[in-house]
């Protein structure tokens, strides 16, 4: 029995190795794909290329390997010869599956080696998880192919039906590009497709972020489909074209997809896999390689490089070049031209409140959709080049929730630091946080002035409809505003204190007080810096207060707040030179967040 299995597998392998077409598609094709993707330049990540090649290999090798081979053998009357020998359909199907595995696994190792040696991809840190997951995927797709083979009557029909499965599995399953680009309904449809679960497991396993155990439902569904499919493929197996097939047999194909129909139905409610897909899509964006070249660099600690370039890789600053920039192509990086621009560390706002609108509007409306409004505020920060914020005075639960969705990458927004110590303007004897913008805004609010809302960046981030409510809100809040009048701080006093602190060498830290009426989340910090410079603080010192000093205050200065090798690639590229004209920080060219080039145009339209 075992002997006949082994012989069957050995002969299958031998025949495949003698088949030039099969060899071409398994071994030469990926080589060409690697060649093309490594020549094409651009900052596409090597792991992403590997991910696509592996996905193609597993899907193609699985679907086409066992099934089409069986149809071909049947059409050429080869199976007829086996029919009279003491061997059953089960042995033929199972050894076909094992052959597909035995052929694809060296192939997959080959591709990993190729990606490593030609594209510089790291070795997989979870090789066993990768192996197991790839095997499960192969089995599931191979069993689908086996059933298709049993259902069709000719090679043409077989190719057609297999392709009818192949292309949706390939394109809708997120193997070639992330499903997060799809409209919402199509994302839901994708949750019924086996390859969606395969790709959403393969990618993080390949990146070493997850193991098979983190993908148990997906692995389980693939295994179940593999087993069910193998059983049914053996059950429906046809030695000859003349063997009759019951019309109901086509329904079995649906039965095999049963585990995924169940998963899909569950996902329609849970949506965890769509969230995961967003994270995976984010990972792809964050892992791109980019060279921002020929910019003026403000490193965060006051150092300025007049002409320099920064290489971003895997979400980190990989290299800083002084003087003439290296060639982006040879670095396999996207080239970002930055001549005449200034690159700063992403700004940090150490004092803001998420659960306040920052603009006088109807409170009931604001609190009704609080979570969405907070998402928008964090997006507004990132839009404004602020890559980290510290929440002050928000409910802790709420902060943690939004912190998590940003941290996972599910949503795009500024990184949130929770308030660990009670808010004080003076954190310790050596730190001073003047909050000029908040003081000025409160004054304006009390007086009913709205000119702070006319600023360009404010107009860009606040929803249009809110501006219409400002007048009425101010009127209805008349008494509250009067009550605040007594508490308002005179700005000349605040400015004097700031000047004194600067002279005394105290560490200055920028906090906008975002959320305060007339301090909009994001633009507020830019205005704060402008107010500092008006007080006489040199622009470099002001910028340091919103970058390196702020990171020190947040005790995060080992990873953000500086342009330094190994630091997170959360950066702000602005037109002009804010060291001469501080308002240049508002003329934002590009924002980078953890290596991702933020698509500012769509940031308020996140699905």
């Amino acid at each position: 029995m075992l002997h006949s299995y082994l012989t069957q597998i050995r002969m299958n392998l031998l025949l495949t190795l003698r088949n030039r077409v099969a060899l071409f598609f398994s071994y030469i094709f990926p080589l060409i794909f690697f060649g093309v993707s490594s020549m094409g330049g651009g900052g596409g990540n090597s792991l992403q290329v590997l991910n696509i090649v592996l996905g193609l290999g597993v899907l193609g090798g699985g679907l086409f390997g066992v099934g089409i081979r069986a149809v071909q053998d049947r059409e050429q009357n080869i199976l007829r010869r086996f029919k009279v020998a003491p061997i059953g359909p089960g042995e033929i199907i199972v050894s076909g599956m094992v052959t597909a595995l035995a052929l694809q696994i060296p192939n997959i190792i080959f591709m990993v080696v190729l990606a490593h040696s030609f594209l510089g991809a790291p070795w997989p840190t979870q090789p066993f998880s990768l192996l197991i997951f790839v095997c499960l995927g192969l089995l599931a797709f191979a069993s689908l192919g086996g059933i298709i083979a049993a259902l069709v009557n000719s090679m043409q029909e077989g190719m057609l039906l297999t392709q009818l499965f192949y292309f949706p599995l390939l394109f809708l399953g997120g193997i070639t590009f992330p499903i997060t680009g799809f409209p919402a309904w199509l994302q839901t449809v994708a949750q019924f497709i086996p390859s969606t679960y395969f790709s959403s497991g393969l990618q993080p396993i390949l990146r070493g972020k997850e193991t098979v155990l983190d993908n148990l439902p997906a692995a389980g569904a693939l295994a179940l489909t593999g087993l069910l499919g193998t059983f049914l493929a053996a059950k429906l197996f046809r030695w000859e074209k003349e063997d009759k097939l019951r019309p109901s047999a086509k329904l079995w194909l649906l039965a095999v997809l049963g585990p995924f129909i169940v998963l899909g139905a569950w996902q329609m409610h849970a949506k965890t896999n769509i969230a995961k897909a967003k994270v995976l899509g984010r990972d792809v964006q964050r892992s791109r390689v980019a060279l921002i070249h020929d910019a003026r660099l403000f490193l965060g600690d006051g150092t300025v490089i007049d002409q320099g370039s920064v290489l971003i890789k895997d979400g980190k600053i990989a290299e800083i070049y002084t003087g003439a920039a290296p060639d982006a192509k040879t670095l396999r990086a996207d080239s970002i031209e930055a001549a005449g621009k200034t690159l700063l560390p992403g700004l940090i706002d150490v004092n803001m409140r998420l659960s306040l609108p920052g603009i006088p509007i109807s409170e009931s409306e604001y609190f009704q959709n609080l979570d969405q409004n907070i998402d928008r505020e964090l997006a507004a920060y990132l839009f404004s080049g602020v890559t980290a914020v510290k929440s002050v005075g928000d409910p802790q639960q709420m902060v943690l929730k939004h912190q998590a969705t940003i941290a996972s990458g599910e949503r795009l927004g500024a990184e949130v630091f929770a308030d660990v110590s009670p808010s004080t303007k003076v954190v310790d004897g050596n730190t001073y946080e003047p909050m000029l913008a908040a003081g000025e805004a409160l004054q304006a609010y009390v007086e009913g002035k709205t000119d702070l809302l006319d600023r360009s960046l404010v107009q860009q981030v606040v929803p249009r409809k809110w501006f219409a409510q400002v007048k009425d809100s101010l009127a209805s809040a008349q008494s509250q505003r009067e009550a605040l009048r007594a508490r308002s701080i005179r700005s000349d006093v605040a400015q004097q204190k700031l000047a004194a602190a600067y002279r005394a060498g105290v560490m200055l830290v920028a906090g906008s007080g975002g959320g305060t009426p007339m301090v909009v989340h994001g633009p507020g910090i830019h205005h704060e810096l402008q107010l500092w410079v008006q007080t006489g603080i040199p622009p470099a010192a002001a910028l340091q207060g919103a970058t390196f000093n702020a990171a020190r205050l947040l005790r995060a200065d080992q990873r953000i707040g500086l342009i330094r090798k190994g630091y997170e690639a959360s950066l702000l590229l602005v037109d002009g030179n804010p060291l001469q004209d501080i308002s240049a920080t508002e003329r934002i060219s590009t924002v980078f967040f953890k290596g991702e080039r933020v698509n500012r145009a769509d940031i308020f339209e996140q699905k």
Partner: protein
């Protein structure tokens, strides 16, 4: 002698269509048994039931003591089968094909001897696609013998082959017979059945219409020789009644007389004597013994080959 195949009251229906309608026969050990019949007569269905490839609707079947429907795998393990129109993968070498199939069976013939016996030794390292039609058929026969079976089913083993190869295959079947192997042969070639088969069953429309040795069939079913005489003058006048003659008929121009006789050695002198007496001039004379084909046409009204 032991019974190797036993078939009694075999029926097979596909929906409303009855392909086999009550077939009975036994095949003894060492016998070469032929199944003759026109296309669609039910021979392939019968053979496939015996080989364990198809379930039957009704009837008793025992092959090598196994019920083919129940002990499919055991049966397949002990028989050798050469089906029509089977193929092997193009890039398979001859000796690999033999080893591959041998792996499925519990007992194996000596591969090299088999290759030599089938004159494939020189071709053992060739790819299947490089072989001629006759060589492919010899490979198919070799595969039917890889398990050194006691019972071999050969389905039209020589169809479409040139006379030389056909002769070689006939020799092989004779060798099998000499080695006391049982062979069940279906064929279109009457000469093949006449030459090789100990017994022949003629099947038509799902039933056996005749069963016996080729000679028995020739004699029992249509045991007369056909004598044909042609004269220069019309044979006017009353024909005498010859001894041992079943049927006689004169052509329309009275010049050709056809006589069917059970004892041609007796009838022929009588006939010539009569022609002499009448003073007719004898122009031509034929004596023809009936062939299995005549039997076949007589029984089924069909030709075997069109």
């Amino acid at each position: 002698m032991q019974t190797v195949i036993h078939v009694a009251g075999l029926h097979k229906a596909y929906g409303d269509f009855e392909a086999v309608r009550g077939i009975d026969f036994d095949v003894a050990e060492g016998e070469v048994f032929g199944l003759l019949g026109p296309n669609g007569a039910g021979k392939t269905t019968t053979v496939e039931i015996l080989e364990g490839l198809r379930p039957r609707t009704q009837g008793d079947v025992k092959v090598l003591g196994f019920d083919p429907e129940i002990s499919k795998r055991d049966l397949k393990n002990h028989i050798g089968v050469c089906l029509q129109a089977t193929n092997l993968p193009d890039k398979l070498r001859v000796h690999e094909a033999l080893d591959w199939f041998a792996a499925f069976y519990s007992q194996r013939a000596d591969r090299n001897k088999l290759l030599q016996r089938l004159q494939l030794w020189e071709k053992r390292n060739e790819f299947y696609s490089q072989l001629s039609g006759g060589q492919k058929q010899r490979v198919a026969l070799a595969l039917a013998l890889v398990n050194d079976p006691n019972l071999v089913f050969l389905d039209e083993p020589t169809t479409g082959l040139d006379p030389q190869v056909r002769l070689e295959i006939h020799t092989l079947i004779e060798e099998l017979k000499a080695a006391n192997r049982t062979v069940l042969l279906t064929t279109h070639y009457i000469e093949e059945a006449e030459r090789l088969c100990d017994r022949v069953a003629i099947i038509d429309q799902g039933k056996i219409v005749a069963l016996g040795s080729p000679r028995e069939l020739q004699e029992r079913i249509f045991g007369q020789s056909r004598i044909e005489v042609v004269t220069a003058q019309p044979m006017f006048g009353e024909l005498p009644t010859f001894e041992a003659v079943a049927k006689q008929a004169l052509s329309d121009d009275f010049k050709t007389l056809v006589v069917h006789s059970t004892r041609p050695a007796r009838t022929l002198p009588d006939l010539i004597k009569w022609i002499d007496q009448k003073g007719f001039e004898l122009e031509d004379i034929h004596l023809k013994r009936p062939t299995l084909e005549d039997v076949f046409i007589e029984l089924t009204g069909k030709k075997l080959r069109d």
